[in-house]
């Protein structure tokens, strides 16, 4: 991927003890993806903050010359959106705490989640950042059959190739209306047959979809899981002990309504079973054209 244009990885650093570890994780990802790293701090631009952040960058064992330090003022979401417009940001990295309670959502909430909900570009939430980061072992990616998902898989495969990790690709499918129908029109053998057929069709769709974007040197496993959107994937994450979960999402911000109507992504964001990549399509356009140019 040396010929790919280098797109910035932006890491969000607060003045907290965790900052150095979050930066270290971002450094690792930037290296894996071959991208320059920029550290963004939102707060007053004084000598004190600057030195604290520089120290964190050093603790993260970044090459100080290779890292750009940005200090901006304003609401974090707005600053991120601006920065994403100004430069070509491939990924925003932020540290987040494990679980979000209701009160947190309705009051201030965690900054990282607010960023994830509103950011125009992909956001990766790191749950347990470490100063000596380790590569991912197992990535789980949930897909729909659309362009955003293919673009997301592009990023996932690049990462998987560099970090040599396993990739599970999951398609969740729901079957609203079927239960009632089974009772009314079918006996249990027929409904079992129908469920199997549904599953087989889903399997075909997924394999054809993934085949279209999978580079030959990355191995993946495919799973079709029946169940509520988000739930089945998270269960799979727990079961397989994965350390990165990826969800595609449209460019629209996640709102209160998504939470209310249980958007799968909101479900994952609330629980955060492991690191979470929320992929957005702004980067998708560039990625997609890159992908077309890539193999040939």
């Amino acid at each position: 991927m040396a010929d790919a244009p280098s797109r910035t990885i932006l890491v969000l650093a607060a003045r907290s003890p965790r900052a150095a570890a979050v930066i270290a994780e971002a450094r690792r990802l930037a290296q894996a993806l071959g991208a320059p790293l920029a550290v963004l701090h939102v707060g007053p631009d004084d000598a004190d903050s600057r030195s604290a952040l520089l120290r964190a960058i050093e603790d993260a064992r970044c090459d100080p010359g290779g890292v750009e330090l940005l200090i901006r003022q304003g609401r974090v979401e707005v600053v991120i959106a601006q920065s994403a417009l100004e430069r070509d940001v491939e990924l925003v990295v932020a540290g987040a705490l494990e679980r979000e309670g209701v009160l947190q959502y309705y009051t201030l909430g965690s900054v990282a989640r607010r960023v994830a909900r509103s950011s125009p570009c992909p956001v990766l939430l790191v749950r347990q950042p470490r100063l000596a980061p380790e590569p991912y072992r197992h990535i789980v990616a949930s897909v729909h059959y659309d362009a955003v998902s293919s673009a997301m898989l592009g990023l996932v495969f690049r990462l998987a190739r560099e970090e040599a990790c396993e990739v599970d690709i999951i398609s969740e499918y729901e079957s609203p209306g079927l239960n009632l129908m089974f009772g009314d029109a079918l006996d249990s053998r027929q409904s079992e047959e129908l469920r199997r057929r549904l599953h087989a069709t889903e399997k075909l769709r997924l394999s054809a979809f993934v085949d279209a974007v999978r580079p030959e040197d990355v191995g993946v496993r495919l799973h079709c899981l029946p169940g509520r959107h988000g739930t089945a994937t998270i269960e799979h994450v727990h079961k397989s002990n994965a350390d990165l979960l990826c969800f595609p999402h449209s460019s629209a911000p996640l709102t209160f309504w998504d939470k209310l109507f249980r958007h799968g992504v909101e479900y994952a964001l609330e629980r955060l079973p492991c690191d979470l990549l929320l992929f957005r399509p702004q980067a998708a356009r560039v990625e997609a054209s890159e992908h077309q140019a890539g193999p040939g």
Binding site: G177, N179, R196
Partner: protein, 565 residues
């Protein structure tokens, strides 16, 4: 209050047994004729009720199903319980997150599918109440509102079944239709609750109309937000600390009964509470599929037949059958609903042909319409003549939506699977007994036609196979790959009478193995062929027969037969 006498208990169980037995029997017969069981269950009631039994042997009917007295009350109570449970199950199928995620298209189709029938129904019924079977003493606005609701309601299970039969369930269009139907279900019931509220609540208790409506809306809103949230948080706790499935079942039913009591008390019908609780419970991600199935089974096999059979006991379907009214109701219902669905689909940018089929899919009314009509009958909003017409309309629209959609959508979608077959690419029987050997053997046969090295093909297919095994169940496996340098899609069919393990979900050995190769650059081609395979081999018995085909000609004939005309 005296307890029930022995005679009364005898009559009660006699009635229940008769209803259930006849309803199930007729329900099975309906299924056998590939119709919804509901049709048979309704017919059972008609046979046992005043329409047939009451005419032929009025004494027997009066004895088993007395029209008043305490036995009558008991039966009435049980059928109310039955319909409350039925609506609980129906509510559990209302998946708000599906609607939310399908987004604008579903909302547009759903809105338009409700708004147009509602407006047209309201105007028509307000202008010609007498012609549409209004009873002289009923409130004109309430009657018009009811008629409008009756025109706009949709039947999710019937629609799901139709889409499934046509293999459209998991398509984008299918999901839009399902989401729109869910939306219409929910909206339709809410509107009807408001209509009942406008009747002014109960006679002897409860607040006035305005308060009833307000309380209804607040209750619904609370149930769909706070209620949903609370239930979602409580379920894991209940599942952890009670015996399963007793704990969850008890919790769900108790909650439904409380809500039913509440909605009845505020002056609308008990079923609304149960329906809303169903929505809230069904939405929880912690509700296990098995719990859902358990509730579903005892309701749809025991309570639903009971309920639908008792409908026939209440009304004489022969003397109240008004052909002109029935025809009018049927025509209005079809036209407004189909056009509504069609316009909504067109607005969201769906092709003309698919829009028509969406319109026809949404036209099915099913059981919901019948329950709606029954409630209106009990509340005195409509008379028996209109009720009979509504029931007939519900049945006719349910029966016709499938066949009509089939006609509309009967297009040469993609190439037929049989057109990929070739006598030189047919191996019967395969020598291989292991998965990898079978792939190699099939690749060998493909290599000449593809003008490629057999190893290139076999390696690509085997690499693919390791990612996701291609055993589909029912004895079919479809190893496949996209191959660089291949010009056109290629299918090699192999028959393995002894079976080869392709790791199918049902554990069965694969006996028909189709090697599917498509050009690397053309990912759409792969989808096309795979879709053609899935369509053709959807029937379980095809593999069974194809294994015994014996020759390429017979195999081809079987495949063509399965593809249909």
């Amino acid at each position: 209050m005296k307890p029930l006498t022995a005679d009364e208990i005898v009559v009660m169980f006699l009635a229940l047994g008769t209803l259930l037995a006849v309803a199930r029997l007729f329900g099975e017969a309906a299924k056998w004729l590939r119709q919804p069981a509901v049709i048979g269950e309704l017919l059972a009631g008609i046979v046992l009720g005043p329409t047939v039994l009451g005419t032929l042997a009025p004494d027997i009917m009066a004895h088993v199903f007395p029209a008043d007295g305490r036995s009558h009350l008991v039966l009435e109570g049980l059928t109310t319980l039955a319909v409350v449970l039925f609506l609980l199950v129906a509510g559990m199928e209302v998946d708000l997150s599906t609607v939310w995620r399908q987004g604008r298209a579903a909302a547009t189709v759903g809105m338009s599918g409700i708004a147009l029938p509602f407006a047209a129904g309201f105007v028509g019924a307000y202008a010609f109440p007498a012609f549409l079977g209004s009873e002289s003493d009923s409130n004109r606005v309430v009657f018009a509102l009811f008629f409008a609701t009756a025109m706009s309601i949709a039947a999710l299970p019937v629609i799901a079944k139709t889409l499934m039969d046509l293999d459209l369930y998991r398509t984008d269009m299918g999901m839009i239709v399902i989401a729109a139907a869910i939306f219409e279900d929910l909206t339709g019931w809410m509107i009807f609750a408001v209509v009942l509220g406008m009747m002014g609540g109960g006679e002897d208790h409860g607040p006035g109309a305005a308060t009833t409506i307000l309380v209804t809306l607040v209750f619904a809103a609370a149930m769909l937000t706070v209620g949903r949230w609370t239930i979602d948080r409580s379920l894991p706790w209940i599942q952890a600390h009670t015996s399963w499935p007793g704990g969850v079942l008890g919790f769900s039913l108790a909650l439904a009964f409380f809500a039913a009591a509440f909605t009845e008390w505020i002056g609308i019908h008990a079923i609304f509470g149960a329906f809303l609780v169903g929505v809230a419970i069904g939405d929880s991600s912690h509700l296990r599929e098995q719990t859902r199935a358990t509730i579903n089974q005892f309701v749809s096999f025991i309570f639903a037949p009971l309920f639908f059979a008792t409908i026939g006991l209440k009304v004489n379907f022969l003397t109240n059958f008004d052909p002109l009214l029935t025809l009018a109701v049927l025509l209005i219902a079809c036209v407004v609903k189909i056009v509504g669905g069609f316009l909504g689909a067109r607005f969201s940018g769906i092709s003309r042909r698919e829009s028509w089929s969406i319109g026809f899919a949404m036209n099915a009314r099913g059981a919901m319409e019948i329950i709606l009509g029954l409630l209106a009958l009990q509340f005195g909003i409509i008379g028996e003549r209109l009720f009979v017409s509504l029931v007939i309309m519900a049945l006719v629209t349910s029966i016709m939506s499938g066949p009509i959609m089939q006609v509309i959508l009967n297009r040469p979608k993609t190439r037929r699977f049989s057109s990929y077959l070739n006598s030189r690419l047919f191996i019967d029987p395969l020598k291989a007994v292991r998965r990898q050997d079978a792939i190699t053997e099939l690749a060998q046969a493909a290599s000449e036609a593809a003008a490629l090295e057999p190893a290139v093909i076999a390696d690509a297919v085997w690499a693919r196979e390791r990612v996701l095994s291609t055993g589909l169940g029912n004895g079919l496996a479809i190893p496949h790959a996209r191959i660089r340098g291949l010009r056109a899609p290629l299918v090699v069919a192999g028959i393995a009478p002894g079976g080869i393990d392709f790791n199918a979900p049902d554990g069965a050995l694969a006996r028909i193995i189709l090697l599917i190769l498509t050009p690397y650059e053309d990912s759409a081609a792969q989808l096309d062929v795979l879709a053609a395979v899935a369509r053709t081999f959807a029937r379980a018995d095809l593999c069974e027969k194809a294994v015994k085909a014996g020759s390429y000609t017979e195999f081809l004939a079987l495949v063509k037969q399965a593809e249909g005309p």
